[in-house]
Subunit: 212 residues, 4 copies
DNA sequence: CATGAATGAGTTTTCATTCAT
DNA sequence: TATGAATGAAAACTCATTCAT
């Protein structure tokens, strides 16, 4: 660590040409691969550059450092999560009169499992090993908050929902969903419980908790 | 940051004199303090030694490196958790005829919150930042497994418990409990929900899920 | 002084650019210089890097450590020795009918003295102080063996050679030559005996021993 | 290396009691054992103390440091060598009228082989790995010088000895003897040539060289 | 006298980052 | 733009030696 750590997370050069955009992609893909293979602490910019078939110099042309690359990966994941979860709740909420608790719960559960199942090992490194600064932590919280808000709003119009505080309940549900999905999908030894079955149980838990 | 991933986790010299035993204590305490202040990546053996008022040489006399020290801290925590959770379930199970779901749930929730509330910031670093090897992961899983087994056994004799599979349900409850407690106690921004209130909701969720 | 005896002797990065090849040269030259000035135990990678006018990082870019650098120096010396001694014997053996003992002996003696006289102080450190692993020892033995074989073959066609066992005699001659040359050229206090005179005596000894 | 190396080679406390003298012996024996097992660079005072079943503190009660211990071992060996070689030559020289070259040569060869054969592995470490200061080097030279002088004196009265310079010849013989014996006895792979046979060849070489 | 815990200067080694080509 | 050799601050770790008990 030559100079004191200065958290530069933004991309350095906005890739304008098609070739450059391709390089960024290649670099991020390589980052993901190396992270999975060697873990956060074992990953170096040289590893990434080599895996990407690019020189370190080029890497630094596009990213101000290692942190920024990981951050880009995290950001990507969060953005996707936000879009998909939002879409799910919005879609459910759209059939207004017919909004029911169980279908909503199932839709959320499926979305969450899908989000985690795509790249579980990368996900584990990204959210368990990488030491995120407060900025990222706030970012994650905000995402959960928004999901919880959407859920809380939906709960208001679903008959049969009985909770002391809709907002609190919604946040607990979102957190629980995220945490359990993360654990079960992430942990390789968990093979005993098939995703289908996990989904059923999560739905049961949500419905039971909210449905009084 | 070398971190060449050579898993030397065991202690080096077993302290035989009282003075030495004291030194080990001082070192572990200092490790916890530094870990909280600077995070895993920012913690160095030199920092720890300095914080302990001891020379680096002494540190290496007792621990083969940073990893081993953190591991000792983790191990300590897990051991305590195992003892306390086990005691709680055993105690509940002892009033045989009168074993009821809600008191059991509340006892577990309280124990778990207590476990996390004692040193939340250290807990966060220890279980979120530190890159644990598979050995530790297995260790944690085993602990949860045992807790889940105890719970499953208790569920068998509680009237009114309706679940598809007692073992699966117990594991989900334990995981959920751990995950949510960790999140809410750990996260400083979460100040909005008082522990008492959190406990109530967790109990509600458990009872609802298990109680049909 | 760690010297944890992890035999990493091979080069690390094969220099591809001309600049890099120059750096390797500079590093080895500096190694020789420092070795002579401070001895094996007193030589550190930092000394070498400084003497080479290069940063430690660069040194480790090309060599995994002090041992490897010294090993490279040794290897270089052995390779040269092998080539030169081989050439001498081959040349003598080429004037087939006229192969005589004394000229052969003198040629070998001169070659050996030349080999040692070039850098006696470095030679001394390299072969007296440096703790060579069994690999290097075998390497040296093999070189001597080959020289001895060549000599043994030559002895077979020289008239007047009387020995019990040509191979044994050849090995003793080679060893003796190496050992005495090393001692006398290496030892600074030995100034009393001029090289010319030493050569004469060595030739006398060889001829007397082999010539019956 | 905490403080700058200050070559303290003499013993620290002259052991006056029997117990103390025993400790010194135990320490030196342990030093020899550890040197053989781990080589010079790998040997530490703590290793030695442990092998001796004594605390480091006690070690430093008797020796000012690691160098001094090795030095004591070397000194011991040299003293014995001096005595034995001197005795051999003196004995031969005593039967004045009948002093013959071959018996003298054989006696010297046997003595030298005996000297090396006793503890070849220790001998190798002591005289190949240990970086001796100039003092030790001078000491060794002086010993050889004295042996050479004694031999030169003997040569003067042996009929049939034909050399250009008796002193030079004597020194070369002593050096050759020492060097070849060291090589052949020291090198484990040398098993091919039995000591008896080696002795014969060395005698032949000496006699041939000196005997005209 | 013996003990062994403690010391800390000195080395090795890594890796994020720069910059001449 | 791309390259990859070079950088060097910072971290890990050792071990000869001391000294309080």
């Amino acid at each position: 660590m030559p100079t004191a750590a200065k958290p530069k997370l933004g991309p350095r050069r906005r890739p304008s040409q098609a070739r450059a955009r391709g390089t960024v992609e290649v670099l991020l893909t390589a980052t993901a691969r190396v992270l999975v293979r060697r873990g956060w602490a074992g990953t170096t910019t040289n590893h990434i550059a080599e895996a990407a078939g690019v020189s370190v110099g080029t890497l630094y042309e596009y990213f101000p450092g290692k942190d920024a690359m990981v951050h880009a990966l995290v950001e990507r994941h969060l953005a996707r999560a936000e879009v998909e979860l939002g879409a799910v709740i919005a879609e459910q909420a759209s059939n207004l009169g017919a909004l029911r608790l169980e279908p909503l719960a199932r839709a959320m559960v499926d979305a969450m499992i899908g989000l985690h199942a795509e790249a579980p090992r990368l996900h584990r490194v990204l959210f368990e090993e990488v030491p995120h600064g407060p900025a990222v932590r706030r970012r994650v919280r905000a995402l959960e908050e928004r999901s919880a808000s959407a859920l809380a709003a939906a709960l208001a119009v679903i008959p049969g929902v009985v909770v002391r505080d809709r907002v609190v309940a919604a946040r607990l549900v979102v957190d629980m969903l995220e945490a359990l999905t993360h654990r079960w999908v992430t942990d390789a030894t968990q093979a005993t419980l098939p995703p289908r079955r996990l989904a059923d149980e999560l739905v049961r838990m949500i419905v039971a908790y909210l449905g009084g």
